[in-house]
């Protein structure tokens, strides 16, 4: 079976987030001064073949730790979207 997952990789809390800061700094000049706590991370979408959803999820989880993120500075979240 085929499953589609989205992995959201974000910086650990406490780390400075230059990208987020840059966006936050730009928004007021565009007229939005009502926005706070902007953080920029990665969004990875992938399609996995596996026997069942649990197996697929387990694999994506391992990919996220080993390849898609560096646990030293990042955390991740996995969304399962639709079954393709």
């Amino acid at each position: 079976m085929t499953f589609v997952f989205e992995v959201l990789v974000t910086l650990k809390p406490g780390l400075s987030d230059p990208q987020g800061k840059a966006v936050e700094g730009a928004l007021p000049t565009l007229g939005w001064s009502n926005v706070r706590d902007v953080h920029v991370g990665k969004h990875i979408r992938l399609t996995v073949d596996a026997d069942d959803e649990a197996a697929a999820l387990a694999q994506v989880d391992e990919m996220a730790t080993r390849l898609l993120s560096n646990p030293v500075i990042e955390e991740y979240r996995i969304l399962e979207t639709e079954e393709a």
């Binding site: 910086l11 406490g14 780390l15 400075s16 987030d17 800061k21 030293v72 500075i73």
Partner: protein, 735 residues
Amino acid sequence: MAVVEQPLHRALGLTDDELERIVQTLGREPNRNELAMYGAMWSEHCSYKSSKIHLRTLPTEGPAVLVGPGQDAGAVDVGDGVAVVFKMESHSHPSAIEPFQGAATGVGGIVRDIISMGARPVALLDPLMFGPLTDERNRWLLGGVVAGIGGYGNCIGVPTVGGEIHFAEPHSANPSVNVMCVGIAPADGLMTSASHEAHVGSSMVLYGASTGRDGIGGVSVLASATLEEGAQGSRPSVQIGDPFAGKLLIEASLEMVEGGLLEGLQDLGGAGITCAVSESAARAGMGADLDLDAVPLRERSMEPFEILTSESQERMLAIVAPERLADVRAVCDKWGLASAVIATLVPDGLLTVRHGDDIVARVPAASLADDGPEYDRPLAPDDVAETSEDPAFMPFEGDLHGALVAVLSSPNIASKRWVFEQYDSLVQGQTVASAGSDAAVIRVPGTLKGLALSSDGKGRFGHLDPYLGAAHAVAEAARNVAATGARPLAITNCMNFGNPERPVVMWQFSEAIRGMRDACLAFDTPVTGGNVSFYNESGDSAIWPTPVIGMLGLLEDYRLLVPTGFIRAGLSICILGETFAELGGSEFADVVLGTISGSPPALDMERERTLHDLLHEAASIDLLVSAHDCGDGGLAVTLAEQAVLGGHGFVVAVPGDLPPHVALFSESASRAVVAVAPERLEGLAELAAARGVPFASVGETGGPRVVFDGLFETTVRELRDVYEGAIPRLLGEDV
């Protein structure tokens, strides 16, 4: 990573004796904030407690030296009213767990050291050491570190013009990431404690990034005690670099310096605010009133000790007289940098720290900055060379052509194009020579002067003999600079070693310092600064003892630069210096004979010195068309590189009666291969004779073929494919 049951001071890395010292200084028990401050300031990293007594033996004076060790970076007078500021530092430990950010923040840190001297950063060099590329993790580390150095350096507009990379098993667990930064300032405009006087009542302005909980590694034990369970785990041990903020810091800081707005300037590095405030105050012979509530924070409810020791990146501290405050704030605003007056200089030597209505710490500033402990740690010799076999006497039946291909394709020797093409080497528009030259050469704007820059470490030699390893590193760095026609002026360095509490490591360190000292004395290249990186080991496997030397040389006229490669046909090729049966620690012995043993080549400092003088003199009368120092890989590799770099082959008859493989691959010191127009051959011969440098005319440049007369032949094309293709192939990229 549970907090072990031990007294707080030990958890903070302070010994019982050190605690006793603190109690005596204060006349009372320190509170936890004060303990955190001493713990950070008296750490090996900040206090140099194990290395000081050895570093003190280094020659640091010379006619050209404006600023020696003790400041953020050393400075040398190169004439025309120009001062060159340079310094090297390591960021190996963070890079081992987050290569990109670890290396990036390393660049940011050394750049701020240069800025804090009032100099504009004009060049970066990056000496790196990794484990073998056959290992997936080492490839990941290399890729991340190189991308990180480029990611920061390219983004702040400072060209990365040189560096070096070596690969060796001991670095698999502990890669070494050193970065050297060079800056330029008016000789009379340096921001040194000597040249700038701070006054009572002057403000300390913290500007740049806000202060967060990141980079409080040292005191995180304290933090864990105060944080709910699990928070410890999420506490980041690496920081994220913000090169954009770094670029703004450069421009804003230099605008303040050039505007004469400052009494002092200090970067924030190890031990954060505690270090910057106490050092500045101590240098001014004063104390300071520090108000933590004034520090712009990135996170709510930070504890005093966290604010005091946070090593958040991209921050600087300016000492400003009251009447200049408005101007300084204006410059920060112009560049979009936050700024805040966090402290005031006070006459008594006390650093008083306030938080809310409380005084949370009160200690003598100098006791933090200057009165750190100092240890004469035990030494235990471990002379590898003595006890191992000399490869020069090992049998070799293989074919020489195959051997050259093997050595040339060793990643230690092969082209580092994959790396240096990831660095902007052109920005600022002064780069006359970068990768592919023995030393990088950049112009000093507004003059004809060229700065020749080289960084060299000799890990394998150091492993066999730490004294010779260090001496050879200085010699090779000077030779590289001399090969471009420049005169070696002064060095900075980074000492990469294992755990200093182990007598063997401490012995290696003392031997390396001795070797560096002797070489620097012989070459008149004083040590203007550097950095010590200890604890590069895991389990009991330490890295090879490796001092990396950053050499500054001067070309009076950059147009006299001597290129490395054979850029024309029909030139006479000469070998300067003498080749001996010295394969100990050579690339050939490692790659072809499969042994790292024996003694490194001998080093006769006077012979070496005369070679530098000859190269410099010959270049100054425009005698040389091409010159290349003869080092790693020996004569064969030196000639091969000159052919590949210049695009012209050669026919050479290898002189002497050594066995061919020894003659071709011996790494004897004090040698260079030069090419001259035939009609100038005589002139060079006479000059060499007058200087007493052994001289041999051995062949001619030209054609697509590379011929070692009577031994073997190949083509420039084959050598180029081997030389350029080796590293991409190891990284699994189609070439």
